[in-house]
Symmetry: C2
Subunit: 282 residues, 2 copies
């Protein structure tokens, strides 16, 4: 296999690397190149084991997950990262998804600047795009939306963020993707209905996106809280609100490949309704 | 180097693959695996040559770029894709960025369903996240935004999309990332100011993100049109609006590595203003 020319990982530096949503095939070449050279891999709770298995034999993999609501641990992670780099190690800080999408990568990078440690950002596939794609839901589709918005449903303290203007978001964004919102799904759905969206609007909840444990629940804004509770769907999960979810019967390529799901070429019924209109012309 | 277990590419099927923003190191393992097996690579105008160079020696690379405003060519691309697959080829449809983020991947996939051709979606790093990261601009940052929105500034017909509620978007999303909006930048900036955002708000225009030709222009909403024209910055370009741009002096790791740019650990001046407040206590 041909491969790209990739940079060498200097001792005493840190790479902040996005691991993508879970499937190791969604790692970037930069991420794999970094894992093969790293002396230390400081990894988050959301990183799949199959990805850690790609680190070189020399790498020490160190768990650096945060406990919800524990602000102290973020500064501990930063301190460890800096200590390893000061000891001359190649330090790979591995985060689920993308380090700059609700990943606190900016904060960690600024701490490195403060400590005078060189760093590189390696973007990853964010779950709100790649995780949706594995569920057969496009983040954008020409018939549906020119805007897609990503919002976090969960703060470091465990609560819903209070700075979000849900009314404006509901008006602005036909498709809304909520990260880490499962715990508060009822409240989030209520906010979006209060913004003027129909209670019958389609919602998908995607758990463990792109992994073998991927589970997708289709529901509506009105039923989301009860359906989520009844299904026992586990976190971490993405919530998608909008008509993009209605494309799933056409685009669920993964279920077609794994379970022989028959796909519908006209999931929004556009061609069928054109035919009906044509048929009703006298 | 260890590598992940990756799927084999079946003849007669199509993979819709995101090539990422430009840097070949941002390809996924699935994308490289697909390129190494494909018989035909149907590629878009936005795909960098260094990425095509990674296709296997057996692959025929066929240009399938669209001319702006030419609706016919989209259906020609689809027809060619289907014809190659029906001839039993492994067809890799390669798109800049991510196929489901303003990439018309959903439309092409539904055409494949209609023709009874199996397909796989391979997500890519979208420029609005990965391109920003290479310019030192995080799509989200805890002090700045819990919402980030992506919007297209350019329709198939070449005009600004008319379905966008700019007022609501301006209220909902502290950081707005506009794809393909350079041609209409003055009008887009006016819409965002009319939504109530300050004319002095920071804007970055990122051209040829993540490639060797990457060029970043920092400006404001009020000055964006004139500064873009004066700089002669070429498309394709991303436009980022919001305080995330103000983090660039702290997070521009690429200029630090290539040109020795000295980074500022406190780009928003938070620590400095805390010190000032503390100093003013009698």
């Amino acid at each position: 296999m041909r491969t790209a020319k990739l940079p060498s990982f200097e001792g005493g530096s840190v790479w902040l690397v996005g691991a993508g949503p879970g499937d190791p095939g969604l790692l970037t070449l930069h991420a794999l190149n970094g894992l093969s050279q790293a002396d230390v891999v400081l990894y988050d709770a959301l990183v799949d084991e199959s990805i850690l298995a790609l680190a070189g034999p020399q790498a020490a993999c160190v768990y650096a997950g945060k406990r919800s609501g524990d602000g102290a641990t973020q500064s501990e992670i930063t301190k460890r990262m800096i200590a390893f780099a000061r000891a001359g190690k190649r330090v790979l800080r591995l985060k689920g998804g993308d380090p700059f999408v609700f990943g606190r990568g900016g904060e960690e990078a600024l701490a490195l600047v403060s400590a005078g440690i060189p760093f590189r950002i390696v973007p990853g596939i964010t779950a709100g795009i790649g995780g949706l794609a594995y569920a057969g839901i496009p983040a954008t589709h020409r018939d549906i939306n020119h805007v897609v918005s990503f919002v976090t449903g969960h703060m470091a303290g465990g609560d819903v963020p209070d700075g979000v203007n849900w009314r404006a978001l509901g008006e602005a964004s036909p498709v809304i993707v909520i990260y880490m919102g499962l715990k508060h799904i009822g409240r989030l759905a209520d906010e979006i209905v209060a913004a003027g969206r129909s209670p019958d609007e389609a919602v998908a909840i995607i758990s463990n996106a792109t992994t073998e444990r991927q589970f997708v629940l289709e529901t509506t804004l009105a039923r989301a809280r009860l359906d989520a509770a009844a299904s026992g769907i586990p976190g971490p999960a993405l919530i998608v609100v909008g008509d993009a979810v209605r494309l799933r019967p056409g685009l669920d390529w993964l279920s077609a490949a794994l379970h022989g799901r028959k796909l519908d070429a006209d999931p929004l019924g556009n061609a069928r309704s054109r035919k009906r209109r044509a048929a009703s012309v006298p």
